[in-house]
Chain length 204, copies 2
DNA sequence: GCATTTCCCGACCGATCGTTCAGTATTCTC
DNA sequence: GAGAATACTGAACGATCGGTCGGGAAATGC
């Protein structure tokens, strides 16, 4: 999305040790291990095997690395909303589709989404990320409202409250889900939908 | 719990501007606003109206402030497990009691629990807090297992997965719940139990 | 082989970090 | 009021922060 994930470009000078995407993978792992603020450029240099100044050859600075990372997560999440399953069909099915696909995005882009979910708003970059996240949450709330309006989700609970609980559950996956160990993303999505929609769907 | 919340002690010398508990309230608010690592002792001094060096008269250092704060949260959470409703009665009712009371603790001690949930393990203090959290989670998993063994919760989902989803939902409250605005803790607990237990309880 | 392009490094910058300390202010006890 | 006790301050500490810069290393194109 941001750049070709291939080793590097072909061209004139000395070949790079990292493509931008590869570099970002290493950096985001560091950010998540220690937290963005607690991770120094020295930490990043050590993790990449380069020196601090070499890192600055690839990116403008620490904040630019954060921007690249959270943008990747946000792009992946917003893409879910444009999928056919999110825009057509019964409202409750669209909602369930977005929930399931959000789980998969979280699993596929785990480090990037994890970083996004921890952004606090200290810098301009972080505040912009928070604003995009809020926009995403508004879209989700709209889906829940649609499902209630369609009479497919019980109406005796506040839709905004349901939205926060439902996607709070999804986001909490970032705290413990690890790809490859334990359950796969499909199983987790099944369990989550069973638990939450079991209580949300109108009995029939 | 940690100290008398009263203005200060009565005694010989100059009266203190803050009791330890009052100081901690201000500090934890700062930690949560910017994140622990991004909050400098200068920030804390400004928020309290004191100078940096005055803060050191009250506490040993920045890490000691964190330790006091997360201990308060952990003490409150563990206390829930010792309540009568958590130790007697049907297994599924004990589980529901712990969920509801955890929501209330999270609401009552919101800044402290929020801080606890964001601990990453950079220092010895943080790693000890993480270990206590893991012990708490183990106790929770035991409750879920009991409810499954008693045939009161559907057995076709992994108990550890259910535990993580269920209390992931509870913990996600820290991301948006604000006392005084929107719903009260009781309403949130009701909605959360309805949504999750609706899908968890065995149909009868 | 030589110019060009790209990548990378060592040394250093001013700012800020958490912390210390010697000293001053303010209060209580007697 | 003398003296003890507690609360607080200003200035400075070494360490580390994110970032800069000039130059050398390694590749391509001709």
């Amino acid at each position: 999305m941001t750049e070709r994930t291939a080793p590097a470009r072909r061209g004139r000078g000395r070949p790079a040790r990292y493509s931008l995407a590869e570099l970002l993978d290493v950096v985001v792992a560091e950010f998540n291990a220690r937290g963005y603020d607690a991770t120094s450029m020295e930490d990043i240099a050590r993790a990449t095997g380069m020196t601090k100044s070499s890192v600055y050859h690839h990116v403008a600075g620490k904040e630019a690395l954060l921007r690249l990372a959270v943008s990747r997560a946000l792009d992946a999440l917003f893409a879910v909303l444009d999928e056919p399953g999110s825009t057509s069909g019964d409202a409750v099915d669209r909602l369930e589709h977005v929930v399931r696909r959000s789980v998969h995005v979280l699993a596929d882009e785990l480090p990037y989404v994890t970083l996004l979910l921890r952004v606090r708003g200290n810098t301009a970059t972080e505040r912009e990320a928070l604003e995009r996240r809020r926009e995403f949450d508004r879209r989700l709330a709209g889906l829940v409202q649609d499902a209630i309006d369609a009479g497919q989700v019980r109406a005796d609970v506040d839709p905004r409250l349901v939205t926060r609980l439902l996607f709070g559950t999804v986001n909490s996956l970032a705290e413990w889900y690890r790809p490859g160990v334990g359950h796969g993303a499909d199983e987790v999505a099944d369990a989550l939908v069973t638990m939450t929609f079991g209580g949300l769907r109108r009995r029939h």
